[in-house]
Amino acid sequence: MSASGAFAGRRFVVVGLGVAGRAAARVLTEEGAQVLATEERSEVEGAAELADLGVDVRLGGHEHEHLERADAVVASPGVPEHAAVLRWATERGIEVWSELDVGARLCRVPYVAITGTNGKSTTTELVAAMLSAAGLDGMACGNIGHPFSVAAREGHDVLAVEASSFQLRFHHWLHPRVSVLLNIAPDHLDWHGSLETYGAAKARIFELQGQGDIHVGNADDPAAAAISRRARCALAWFRDGAPAPGEVGVVGAEIVAHRDGRETGLGRPVHDAAGFVADCAAAAAAALAFGLPPEAVADAIRTMTPLPHRGEEVARVGSVRFLDDSKATNVHAALHALRGKSDVVLIAGGMAKGVDLSPLAEGIASLAGVVALGESAPQVVSVFDGRVPVRTAASIEDAVTMAHALAPEGGTVLLAPACASWDMFRDYTERGDRFAAAARALTKEDAGVER
């Protein structure tokens, strides 16, 4: 780690002290800036440490006076676009930065940036694994949990940066050598207002890219592809199907690159969920564009296991499989999880984030039943009522029991809520863990009966 004093003598206001906001405040201070950090909550983990570093920490709400003499405001990912404090900054003519900008200003090595509605974290991990397999010191960072601003100063050879639409909305400096737009589906509309502004935020990932840079787009997703075509740099495509020349695609269950007039196999992903396979194709396209040899790409694809809560089997009760796709926090991801499956009992519902759940009906052919859960349970019920058996559960444990009862012989219970978890759980991890625990408890009961 090195402090270059890149921000010496400049005044920054960091708005929002989540993980990324705290990292930005610390990094800016260590790089010589004067930092004032403001947070709506009146208690924040790590606030004392920041104060010890010399950060002027102001808890319990944003004030006009916080912006006095500031050169730039750094917005944490959690701060809504229309938050008053950001409007004040704009009115005063103060630049509003994304927290990613702090990393972008400090990063001395090329980086791959990945955005999209679903599969960002998985693709980011995959790209990082491919970079490492090629012998580089590659690191996954960004929205994934390890802030870009921190990773940028750790002396890695190359970074894979997960960029959410929140973070992309404000950035001025993010200039990846390779950018990836995985897919676009309605999500976070409470934050962005409309699908148009959401798409516009995603498009900002290639805002600074030009000659010599590459953007990777999804040939299967018309909405995303339309955005990708606006990139002012070279384009590379991936798809979930046979690749055209220059593309990366999927043939059988294998990832295949069509380059220099022939198809090169890049290995079979260990997990055959449609979303994971598409993420592998996207990561492979990005890695090849970066220049990695196909062998390194194949190494990573063959060994990478999906992150938890992305559709893996967590239990089997008799002939019924229990799949945890708690990370499916929007309709697109839930439908993706249902693709190619039949006799599924779907556990869905939670916090809908202002999104219309009715497109879930497209998955009806795969369904043997639905268990509705959480705040948006009534909406889920109204989508499926009268078409398949529907139950409403009060807790995730109840939901597991009800779903098991509904599941036919050889069927599947799938947790793919299409909604956020924040109404009943701390996060999607807790929701998935409790789902898995309840399913395993059923396994034990089941085994006890048979013995």
């Binding site: 001395r108 090629a134 000659q211 010599g212 220059g246 380059r259 564009a289 970066f290 220049g291």
Partner: protein, 408 residues
């Protein structure tokens, strides 16, 4: 010259007489000039073939990333090399003195190409400057042709004014305004690197012509001030110029290319990481197959490979200087000196930039960097050198014949 087949069947003594005539009529190829020609062609071939290998290695990534075809740049460069060898064969067989008469038309055509490239409809822009012209299926970079055209013109003018160069009027007109116009047109693209190469080459030709020291000093001073003025007149040039002094200060932006180049050279060590095994060519070094091909060469083939390239350039320049000093007339001497000055200066400016000794000005490495115009024109220039080397002293009547100032 008599044809060989006609002598068959004639009495032996007649054949002998004919063959003696032939020896006299044939270009002089004594042992020294044969060695010089071998050196010239050998080092050129080494650099061109080495360049092809390195273009294949260093361009495969960006060719795939940009066009989905890893071999695209290599195939094009191989085709350009073939055209260049053709051009070399042509210029080596064409009596070099013909260039003296072609000098003005050649310069006029080049100047009009340089004007065309500035025209928004005709020129092809890249990296913020318009340097290329699309002529049918090929893209031509007129500033590369301008280097040869100006060398030929300068040699012709200085040879014509030989003996009068101590008079300031003859020295300045028309040499100085023509150089300023050509360099100015190149600067309008804008292409500072080529502008500096062109003016530096003319300066070295004046030096080779033995122009008085105080004139040279004045020209050098004016040139340096003008150069500095150009550098500091545009923000991006000033920042780039200063970046070479401390690339690590802004390693993400202005110093990025140089830092990545130094990392490549450093990772190469003594023997390199192996041909094709460069990592810096993975989107780390921008323009890896053009201006920064030497960085990738250094990474893959190490100090050993770098020294081989330096030695080859050294031998090429040595051969060129020897051709210049042994040239049969003033025009040949200045033409050879100009070509050597241009190739040597360009190699120096490129290698200096890549290794951090000089600012980065976007100049390709002769014979090695990807780029058709540069390769074809450089090979044509080698052909001219070859022709000068094999032209016998007696074959040319010059103002210098018998004056004793001739070098041969």
């Amino acid at each position: 010259m008599s044809s060989g087949s006609a002598t068959v069947g004639q009495p032996r003594h007649l054949r002998l007489v004919r063959s003696v005539e032939r020896v006299h009529a044939r270009p002089r190829e004594d042992a020294t000039s044969r060695r010089t020609i071998t050196l010239l062609l050998g080092s050129t071939a080494f650099l061109v073939l080495g360049g092809l290998v390195m273009v294949l290695s260093s361009s495969s990534i960006s060719a795939y990333a940009q066009f989905g075809d890893s071999f695209l740049f290599f195939q094009r460069q191989a085709a350009y090399a073939a055209v260049g060898v053709g051009a070399l064969a042509l210029t080596s067989r064409m009596r070099y003195r013909a260039w003296q008469r072609l000098a003005l038309p050649f310069l006029a055509v080049t100047a009009s190409l340089l004007v065309m490239v500035l025209h928004p409809g005709a020129g092809v822009s890249a990296y913020g400057s318009s340097r290329w012209l699309e002529l049918g299926p090929v893209t031509v970079q007129p500033s590369e042709i301008a280097k040869l055209a100006l060398v030929v013109f300068a040699a012709a003018v200085l040879a014509r004014k030989w003996g009068k160069l101590d008079e300031i009027g003859h020295l300045v007109l028309p040499m100085v305004p023509v150089t300023i116009v050509i360099a100015g047109l190149v600067m309008m693209q804008p292409d500072l690197g080529t502008t500096l190469i062109i003016s530096g080459t003319v300066f070295l030709m004046l030096f080779a012509a033995g122009v008085r020291f105080r004139y040279l000093l004045a020209a050098g001073l004016v040139g340096s001030v003008a150069g500095m003025g150009l550098i500091f007149s545009a923000d991006y040039r000033r920042v780039r110029f200063l970046a070479f002094l401390d690339p690590w200060a802004d390693a993400t932006n202005t110093g990025y290319q140089l830092v990545q180049s130094l990392i490549a050279l450093g990772s190469g060590g003594w023997f390199g990481v192996g041909l094709g095994a460069s990592r810096q060519k993975w989107l780390y070094v921008p323009n890896a197959h053009t201006d920064f091909i030497f960085s990738i060469l250094g990474e893959e083939l190490g100090l050993l490979g770098e020294l081989a390239v330096l030695v080859a350039f050294g031998l090429l320049i040595f051969a060129g200087i020897r051709i210049a000093t042994r040239a049969p007339d003033v025009f040949g001497r200045l033409l050879a000196a100009g070509i050597v000055a241009w190739i040597g200066l360009q190699a120096l400016v490129n290698l200096g930039a890549v290794t951090g000794l000089l600012p980065i000005t976007g100049v390709p490495l002769p014979f090695l960097s990807y780029g058709g115009s540069s390769l074809v024109v450089s090979l044509a220039a080698v052909g001219i050198l070859w022709n000068i080397a094999r032209t016998p002293a007696g074959a040319v009547k010059t103002v210098l014949s018998g004056t004793g100032r001739r070098a041969a």
